[in-house]
Symmetry: C2
Subunit: 336 residues, 2 copies
DNA sequence: TTGTATGCGTTATCAA
DNA sequence: TTGATAACGCATACAA
C-alpha cells in the first residue's frame, strides 16, 4: 500500500515506470492514463526520491546561503534577518529550500565544506568586506554565485547591492543644499564596502559643490559609541552638519552633541543611513536613507534562479535604489 | 586530470573503484595502497558525488531547521538568532549543513514541502505554540524530529526546552521570600507554551506559600506595552511584587510604575525573564532569569544527531536549567 | 502515446 | 586485502 519507487507505483497503476515519471514531471501522456496514474499518486501520497532525481538530473533544487559574519554582528540589527526573509520568499516558489552556512568554521573550512558538499545548485553569499577569501573562493569555484554587496573586483560577477555611492551623494547634497558648507562625515568600519562607497558618495557631493572632501571626515566603526566618540572631534573642526554612516552612529552623535548643548538641527544637522525603526522617533526625528533590505534578498534569489536557468548568460548585476527620508534633524537649518 | 567519478580516480591510481571508496570512507585497505590512492585523491581534489552517496546510503547528512514564526517576531530579540547559532555550532562537526525553512508558506504547505523534499535526515522545529499543526504534522511524519520547546502532548517526543515551570517557581519564591505576599504575575501570550508554563510555576510557588494563586494574575502578550498597560491594574489590586513573563514586559511595568511615582523595589518589586542585554542597565537593574538560548540550540543539534544514530532508541528529552539573577529590582524590599 | 533499456556515481555484497 | 557486480530510484533516449 505504500509505494516506495516509481516501479511500485507503476505496478499499482498498471503502467510502466516511465509513464509514471512522465505524469509526475509533466511529460506527454494521454489524458486517460494521466488521470488514472494521478489518482493512484494522490491516494498513495507517493513522493519521488530526491537523491535519485538529483543524481540523474544533476540539480538538487537547493540553494546555499552563506553568511559568514561574526555572531555579534550577524543579528545585531534586523539587517540579516530581513535579508534571510527576502531570500526565503524569493526562493519559495521555485526552489526546494535553502541551506544555510554561518560563520562557525574558518572561511577556508567553510569554503571547502560547501564545495565538497556539492549539495547546492547555486550560492548566495554576503560580501560586505573588501578583502574576503570566502567570496573569492566561491567566485573561483565552478558553482553559480550571487553576491549580496560587491567590491570593485566583483564588477564582472553577479551581485545585488544598493547604490551606496549614489545614496550617500544624495544625502550629502541634501545637507549642502540646506545651506551648510562645513559638512562632515563619520565613516563605517574601514575595509567594509559600505564604508568605502558611502565615503566616496560623500566626497563626490562635496567636490560637486566645490567643497573640501577630506577635511571633515572622521573614522568610525558602525557602532553607536563611535558616533559618541567622534562627533565631538568634528564639532571642534567647526562642522555644521554630519552625515553618519548609519543610524546607530547618528544616534551616538545625537547623544554627544546634545550633551554639549548643541542644538539639532539648529547648530548642527545630522543625517543617518538605514532608516531603522528608532530613527523616526528620536528627538528630533532623523533624516536618513531608507533601503529595502528585504527587496535585496528577494532580488538575490531571483538573480540566482535566473543564473541557474541560464548558466552561460550574462552576469546578473542589480543596484537597487534607495530613498532619502527627510526629517527634522536636517530641517530649518542654518538659514532660519 | 579531473576525475569526476570513483571509476576515473581508480583508473588513475591503478586500483578498482571499490578500493577508492574504501579509502574515502575508511574501509580496510593495506597501508601501501591507501597511501597511493590518498595521494591521487589529494592531488586531484576529487569529491565524491553526494547525491549518489545519499541514494545508496539513504542518508544525506542534512538537517532541516523549521522556524515557522511570524516575521515580526522571528528576529525581534536575539532569541532565534541565538538558537540558530547554537544549532549551527552543534551541527558543524557532524552534519553537512542545515536546511532552513521559515514561515513564508502556510504551515500545511511547509509541511508538505518538507515531507516531499525528503532531503533532510532529521528535523529541528521550534514548538512555541500550544496548538501547532506543523509540529503535529512533523511528529506524525516518519522523520526523526526534535522539538525546541514542548507541549503537554509532546511528552513522548524528543525535545529540548528550558525548565520554564521550575524557573518561574524559583523567581516567584524569591519574591515571596523577600517578605512580600501580594505577588502578581503578568503572563505571556495565551496559547504559548512559555506563558502557560511560567504561569504554572508562579502558581505552584504561590500555593507552596499558602497564597492565592489566581488573584494577582494579569494577562499580557510578551510586549513592552503589555507591561505598561497591565501593571497599573495589578497596582490597584495592591500588589507588592510583580513577576513579568519576560524582560520586555518588566520594562513596561517599570515605565508605568515609575510614571506613577511608585518606587522599585521599595513599593513594588519587579522581576523579569530572559536576562536580555538591557536588564542589567535598567534603573534599577532587573532581577530576572537567565536562559542560555545558544545552549538550547546546541543541545537540539546534539539530540537530533543522537536520534539519527539510533532511530529506535529512546526519545531524547532534555530540560536545560536556568539561573536566577538577583539584582536591585527585588533587593532591599518591604522589610527595609 | 507508451514501454524498454540504459546510465547517473555511490556503497555494499560476495568471491577470489 | 582486493575486485567484480549488484543494487539504490529516477529520467530519458530510443523503440515500438
Amino acid at each position: 500500500m505504500k509505494p516506495k519507487t516509481l516501479e511500485d507505483l507503476a505496478a499499482l497503476a498498471g503502467v510502466s515506470r516511465a509513464t509514471v515519471s512522465r505524469v509526475v514531471n509533466g511529460g506527454s501522456v494521454s489524458e486517460r492514463t494521466r488521470r488514472r496514474v494521478q489518482q493512484v499518486l494522490d491516494e498513495t501520497g507517493f513522493r519521488p526520491n530526491r537523491a535519485a532525481r538529483t543524481l540523474v538530473t544533476g540539480r538538487s533544487g537547493v540553494v546555499g546561503v552563506v553568511m559568514h559574519e561574526e555572531p555579534t554582528v550577524l543579528f545585531k540589527d534586523a539587517y540579516f534577518a530581513d535579508l534571510m526573509h527576502g531570500i526565503s520568499d524569493g526562493l519559495a516558489e521555485q526552489a526546494t529550500g535553502m541551506m544555510l552556512w554561518l560563520g562557525n568554521r574558518s572561511k577556508a573550512d567553510t569554503l571547502e565544506h560547501i564545495r565538497s558538499s556539492g549539495i547546492a545548485d547555486g550560492i548566495i553569499v554576503t560580501a560586505h568586506f573588501r578583502d574576503d577569501p570566502l567570496v573569492d573562493g566561491l567566485r573561483a569555484a565552478p558553482i553559480p554565485t550571487v553576491l549580496i554587496g560587491h567590491r570593485r573586483e566583483d564588477a564582472d560577477a553577479s551581485y545585488v547591492d544598493i547604490d551606496n555611492v549614489e545614496a550617500a551623494r544624495t544625502v550629502t547634497r541634501h545637507l549642502i543644499e540646506s545651506g551648510r558648507t562645513r559638512v562632515g562625515h563619520i565613516t563605517g568600519r574601514p575595509g567594509t564596502v559600505a564604508a568605502d562607497d558611502r565615503l566616496e558618495g560623500y566626497r563626490l557631493a562635496m567636490l560637486d559643490a566645490g567643497l573640501d572632501p577630506d577635511r571633515y571626515v572622521a573614522v568610525g566603526n558602525y557602532e553607536r559609541h563611535d558616533g559618541q566618540r567622534v562627533a565631538p572631534e568634528l564639532l571642534e573642526r567647526g562642522v555644521e552638519a554630519i552625515f553618519c554612516v548609519n543610524d546607530f552612529v547618528a544616534h551616538g552623535a545625537y547623544l554627544a552633541l546634545q550633551e554639549r548643548g548643541v542644538d539639532i538641527p539648529g547648530d548642527v544637522a545630522v543625517a543617518g543611513f538605514d532608516d531603522l525603526e528608532f530613527a523616526a522617533t528620536l528627538p528630533p526625528p532623523l533624516t536618513t536613507i531608507r533601503q529595502d533590505v528585504r527587496a535585496v534578498g528577494m532580488q538575490a534569489a531571483a538573480s540566482l534562479l535566473a543564473l541557474l536557468d541560464d548558466p552561460d548568460g550574462a552576469p546578473q548585476r542589480v543596484l537597487l535604489p534607495t530613498e532619502l527620508i527627510i526629517r527634522a534633524s536636517t530641517d530649518g537649518g542654518a538659514s532660519t
